[in-house]
Symmetry: C4
Subunit: 261 residues, 4 copies
């Protein structure tokens, strides 16, 4: 079979579209943000992406219907006054091997290039290894002018973060995008790395909304954030109780190690 199979579901002409990528990763920040954006904009299905570089797996819905794991592209046509239509890439998995990551990214970029995409935003989480009360949004970009304009939108460019660079789709869509003549940036919401983090996704989307000149209602995302807070708090309390007897000599409470994926 072809390494990557892209099935087009709808034929559309887009006006200077911008690609927004958000796939599973640290704190699931990128995926949460992309899925929420898709939902709030009412973006429509454009194409489904299957690949032998995804796990050999189907999901089963509550209705008993199976669905092969995939990535998917949705599109949103902006008002005539707005500068850009938007393409959103979401999905179940990133490619599970390094080669797979390259192959999938390159094929999706090629497809999007054909639709007129010349600018890419990738959304991700940035693991700080500690609870982050008010997540900042860190940035990395393909060119100096993007760095400057994102700084004005509130993005933090830190000299040392991310030290080891970006690994996975959020980096590769920018790095390979350059070979297609695309510019772009990665928006990374700070997160502990231990929990799915809707609050970090919200911070990322607020910046993105400003940059894309798109209005987003955050009510539902904030509800989800509070729910996660409540679960985290319960785990914290349970572990506090468990670790008390050994607290004086032990390595201290490990409340922050529980990962709710």
């Amino acid at each position: 079979m072809e390494d990557v199979v892209i099935r087009t579901l709808d034929k559309v002409t887009l006006r200077d579209p911008i690609l927004v990528e958000g796939l599973p990763g640290v704190g699931n920040v990128g995926k949460l943000a992309a899925d929420y954006l898709k939902e709030q904009l009412g973006a429509k299905p454009l194409a489904t992406i299957y690949s032998k570089f995804f796990p050999p797996q189907v999901y089963v819905g509550e209705d008993g219907i199976i669905r092969l794991v995939s990535n998917d592209l949705s599109y949103w046509k902006a008002a005539p006054s707005a500068p850009h239509d938007v393409l959103i890439l979401g999905g179940d998995y990133q490619g599970i091997s390094p080669e797979g990551q390259y192959e999938i990214t390159e094929r999706v970029l090629d497809y999007c290039h054909g639709l007129g995409v010349r600018e890419v935003f990738t959304l991700a989480g940035f693991a700080q290894g500690r609870v982050v009360e008010e997540p900042r949004v860190l940035g990395a970009a393909t060119a100096r002018d993007r760095v400057e304009s994102l700084k004005k939108a509130g993005v933090v460019f830190s000299r040392n973060d991310p030290g080891g660079g970006l690994i996975g789709a959020s980096g590769l869509f920018l790095g390979l995008g350059r070979l297609f003549g695309m510019e772009g940036a990665c928006l990374m919401g700070e997160t502990s790395g231990y929990f799915v983090d809707p609050r970090s996704a919200e911070a990322v989307l607020k910046v993105l909304g400003r940059v894309l000149e798109v209005e987003i209602d955050f009510t539902a995302l904030e509800t989800k954030a509070k729910e996660i807070d409540r679960i985290a708090q319960k785990i914290h309390e349970a572990e506090q109780r468990t670790s008390e007897p050994s607290a004086p000599s032990g390595p201290g409470p490990r409340e922050d190690l529980g990962y709710i994926g």
Copy 2:
């Protein structure tokens, strides 16, 4: 070499054939069921499938003759009154890498599509992690009408199981089958996951027999089930004895951890 090599052994014309897949997996339920069906129907060899995605291995028979590991397709011509001929896919292994799983499944589906297959049943085990006295058959399907008709045949569609979806050939034959325009369902026999489970295979085949309108004699399978019961019982007893001294404080008897593959 070609990634997947399919050697046709017999040229046949089949009447609206249904593909039944049963390869090694949880409790070996799928393979046991497919092999037993093949035997009981007297299905004939149609094609042998070799692949570099199987282990580099030959089996040696009791007569000293070697045989390269493979999957194989058999066919059964139904009585003129019955609606469908049947193709059965069995074999030694599933593909040993994710890419291999995709490649083999896609090639076999393509081959079967050429033979007229438009409907697929995949047979599998569903590990419950505890001894299951009377295994139910859980289902997942490609479309709502299949869900409804299988419910009538006694299949259980559970809202939460299988939670993580289906991994491997049993899922992929359905998921990729959809890309070939095939419909189908997976029949999963409940099993402990610790033993080869002919009883679960029998439960699966009973449903399949009803759906395919095929009569199956279960005597030999029941004999095999009793034999496994006896072995399991012995292991249970042996481990009871071993674990007795530490029973009050230890994690309890581990009788359910022995896996007879």
Copy 3:
């Protein structure tokens, strides 16, 4: 690059040639036997095989000259009275991935088929997990007539050995060879599995010599066998001394665990 590169060093016409394969494996029996046969026959270089499925490695000789790891084919022209010329496949490694094993074997078989090969002998060790004083030669073959003729040459066909079949080149050259219309057999010298075993290689070569009607002088191989015996004996003694204090309660001397590769 091509997955497998075969460089022909010499153009020859061979008379009904038989391929003898002996690559690194259990007790290095196959490689020892093939290398010794090559040396004793004075076989000449025919082709070198490079592949990206070998490790990315060069060897450095004592003279400081590098050599890329490879397999190699040598040929021996038999006397006109003898029925077959002989091709010998030896080398540094088997393919290091399952796919690589298939690719390399298939390409070498294709090349050898072009040279007229219709019969293959693969040489291997069979690990018994204990010291073997007088190694038998176990067999597996592609057809009944080969089983019978090898029994007459002293080969043992055991109902239960090798139980799990043959893994690696020794099995694959026979299994894939069948797809090229080749017949053949595997000759497995019993060995402990803990040492390089020239004595087992000698047992294998004695059978092969009878079958190929080739005279082989075993003096040098017997010298090597005695040398290994001496090393094994020393390790045995050293470990006896080490394990003495704990002998009553410990797991006993582990003299057989030292592997001299």
Copy 4:
């Protein structure tokens, strides 16, 4: 995508160019040496090499600008009196799978062959497992005349080192280079294997400078070497203090286990 993508940045005609390879590896000796040579010669960018066999990663500079991981070729035009122009291959990574190593090396060699390269020097570290005060430069070459001429340049050809051969790019560029009709040698600076080792890189470059008839100023490299010495010394002292209580019976100070990559 293509397995290996080479983007040419500059069109040049080179005079009998020699390829010098130095990629990350033991003690980072090869990379340090190649990068320093490039800097000192003022070599200019010739081509960038991307590959799906590198990690799916981008680096982020201090200015927030991303860069896809790559290898890169630079060129230096020698004075008309000197015999050879020089090509330098450096980069972030070697291929991360064995197949990847072969594919990348073969494509780069093919590209360089097109530029006229017939001679290759690969630079590497040779791990001695102990602190090396005055690193020797060990050698391995493709032909006897290279061994002789390198001995005159101070390279040590040891009968036993490197015993297991060379693994990775430094070996493969020579081994595969032979298939392109290229000759060459590997220069290995002795190093502990525990630290990045500019002193070993300097030893390697001194030999290379002699062979290529190129003047190199080592001031900056010596400054770097002293800096590493200072860090190593601090780690040594810290570990001395830590290990003192257990020194009489313990395995001794572990100062040499800290690896500063």
